[in-house]
Amino acid sequence: MDLSYGPRYEDFRAEVKSFLADNADRAPRMTMRVVEHSQEVVDWQKTLIEAGYAARTIPREYGGYGAEPDLLETMIIAEEFSAARVSQGAAGQGISMLVPTLLEYGSEEQKRRYVPPTVNAELLWCQGYSEPGSGSDLASLSTRAELDGDQWVINGHKIWTSTAVEAGMMFILVRTEPEASKHRGISYLLVDMDTPGIEIRPLRMMTGSSDFNEVFLEDVRVPRENLVGERGQGWQIGKTTLVHERNFLGSSALTEGMLAACRKTLAAATDEQGGGNLVHGDRLMQLEGRALAMKYHGLRMLTDRLKGRNPGAAGLITKLNGCQLNNDICSLAIDGLADYGILYRGSPHAVDDGAWQKQYMFQLGMIIGGGTAQIQKNIISERGLGMPREPRATAGS
């Protein structure tokens, strides 16, 4: 183990610091929302890519900065941006999940066409995986696509599709090989959301907002070349996307931002709200300990990835731990506000306009979305620890 950064990296750190000193005022305000696509965000994203602080290792021909992967540089950027509380750029489902998937499986044409506008935050994506009958058992999905000449014709019904309204494109899993086994019959397609036959119905979430949707697809025609990878390879590709999603949802960058905000909320709490409460301090330190463990765990996983090593079961825990941790941070912030903790957006006296309550619910959503906590535990124990699957159900015993 070597944690010293050395002079070359300290120079790099100085560069990052000076970039932040000169540019931080142009950064969009840090919000706890996952998706943002204002002009401000797009401009900031452009600035970051030019300076090499976003899309850093994505090749230049695909709109990135084109640097060689370097763990310490990545770390230094994350550390300095986090310390300065400055946004590290856009992070929608396109950037976090689709781009790495396309870089791995996409055709040259797909990479050139879709990666640049996506990393620039100009093109937003949504993820069309879940269906009413297929959530945890995603491989049972029944939305189907049939080849008709040069086009795929899609029919089916997706649900819980986050940001379908805002998205320009959707990456979707569809059944193309009905005769093949459940996992082998799925393909991965890219769909323009403006294609005729797509109907989006927003669903109201427990937070009161409608950020996820039902998407109905009726004879939706998509060019043949929008197939990613091979026919029947969709399950394998889709799982790659899910791995990126899970690492993203549980990422310690997210946790650190929330922890910093929680610390601020507790520090600002008045006496009436139980400010300076030692027990809250103790809970905060517990959370910091957990967060720190996950941060260095993340560093270890990153090292494995950069060195092409398989981290094994230890690589499967990020989402399970990270999302629960984020939810617990929100819970502490709410407790730290005493009665004021129950005030919600639009209310007089609501601290941060009730953002903690909203985040508390949202982070519960993240425990469920992207594969529930229970499914994560199944994956850890079965795939990671080699334990057998549960036997088939029998009626009462």
Binding site: G135, M205, G274, I342
Partner: protein
């Protein structure tokens, strides 16, 4: 030894449960909520027919003296009622409207105050609310601000308390009193309305001045805490029942999800935490009713324990639904938020444990 509800209390529970299912179902409650954003809900508390229906069930005046139209029963009976209201998401701030406010009036009000307000509480015609804060009194008029007051939008009068120990004073402030302004909060629990009051030289009728007032305020506040804990328990109990039902019909991987050990364990663990909470709630109410030495301490521990258990409980039962649990349409969110309100109101878990330590 006989630890448990009496046959009368079981009857009260069953008949109220049946009545709520028929007359004030969650579907009906939702009709009044669905169009509002969080906090902007309309309230059954303002719905005269519902309040009269509840009065007809004899549940509004459970703890009030019989001479004023109440049932003259105890806190354990109120716990039975509050549990049902938590289950059914009844849009009444029962802890304040039917417990702390009228009980303080019953304990410290003049004969005239009692006879003009208490019968109306029992019959559902008058709605009282309870508020605590720092107020200044000048020539029988009050000035100041009272925060986190239930039912500011609909209460007919507020029983307000200011000062501690021997300095404690209490008054009755009527809704249309001069200089009284109410402001609505948006709290996460859309089934119960909360807000604040601004008083500027607002005429108020003092309750009896007495050295015992502070003790009485503490006692009625404890009763309200027990009721909030019962409300959370009821919410969680029903949320668990519905989750079990859903898991029994939702299929994934060719089997009902209830057949997965992970889902069964979530439900079993929740149940194993909820049942002792029910028992502790009953004991706290009994101790309060009997004015046992350990009553106040038990109440503080109950309030804290209830907060921890019920938060975990709704968090878990919501997860049993998968994505469906995250929707507005799913009832879990309503219990989730009800429990969230109960957790912070009248002392969060940390504050309550600190209180218990000092008792």
């Amino acid at each position: 030894m006989d630890f448990g509800l009496s046959p009368e209390q079981e009857l009260l529970r069953d008949s109220l449960r049946g009545w709520l299912a028929d007359e004030l179902s969650i579907e009906r409650v939702r009709e009044t909520l669905d169009n509002g954003d969080a906090g902007a809900a309309s309230r059954t508390a303002g719905d005269a027919s519902a309040m009269q229906g509840l009065a007809g069930q004899g549940v509004l005046g459970v703890m009030l003296p019989e001479e004023h139209g109440g049932a003259g029963l105890g806190l354990l009976d109120a716990v039975v009622v509050a549990t049902e209201m938590g289950r059914a998401l009844t849009t009444v701030s029962y802890h304040s409207a039917c417990v702390s406010a009228p009980l303080l009036l019953a304990g410290a009000g003049s004969a005239e105050q009692k006879s003009s307000w208490l019968p109306g509480v029992s019959s559902g015609k008058l709605l009282l609310s309870f508020a605590v804060g720092e107020l200044e009194e000048r020539d029988g008029a009050l000035t100041g601000e009272l925060r986190f007051v239930p039912d500011t939008a609909t209460a007919d009068a507020f029983v307000v308390v200011s000062g501690n120990g021997s300095e404690a004073r209490a008054w009755l402030v009527e809704r249309n009193a001069a200089g009284l302004q109410a402001r609505d909060y948006h709290n996460i629990d859309i089934t119960r309305q909360l807000g604040e009051l601004q008083l500027s030289d607002t005429p108020a009728e003092a309750l009896a001045e007495s050295d015992e007032l502070a003790g009485l305020v503490a006692r009625v506040s404890d009763a309200a805490r027990v009721v909030l804990a019962a409300d959370s328990f009821g919410a969680c109990e029903r949320a668990l029942e519905e989750a079990i039902e859903y898991a029994g019909v939702r299929e994934q991987f060719g089997r009902v999800v209830a057949s997965f050990q992970a889902v069964k364990h979530m439900c079993a663990e929740t149940f194993a935490e909820l049942e002792p909470l029910r028992s502790l709630g009953w004991y706290a109410a009994f101790a309060w009713d009997e004015q046992r030495d350990d009553a106040a301490r038990t109440v503080a521990l109950l309030k804290a324990h209830s907060a921890e258990v019920s938060t975990r409980s709704v968090m878990t039962t919501t997860q049993v639904y998968g994505g469906m649990g995250f929707t507005w349409e799913c009832n879990q969110q309503l219990w989730f938020k009800r429990v969230g309100y109960n957790r912070q109101a009248l002392g969060g878990p940390v504050a309550e444990r600190a209180r218990a330590l000092s008792l």
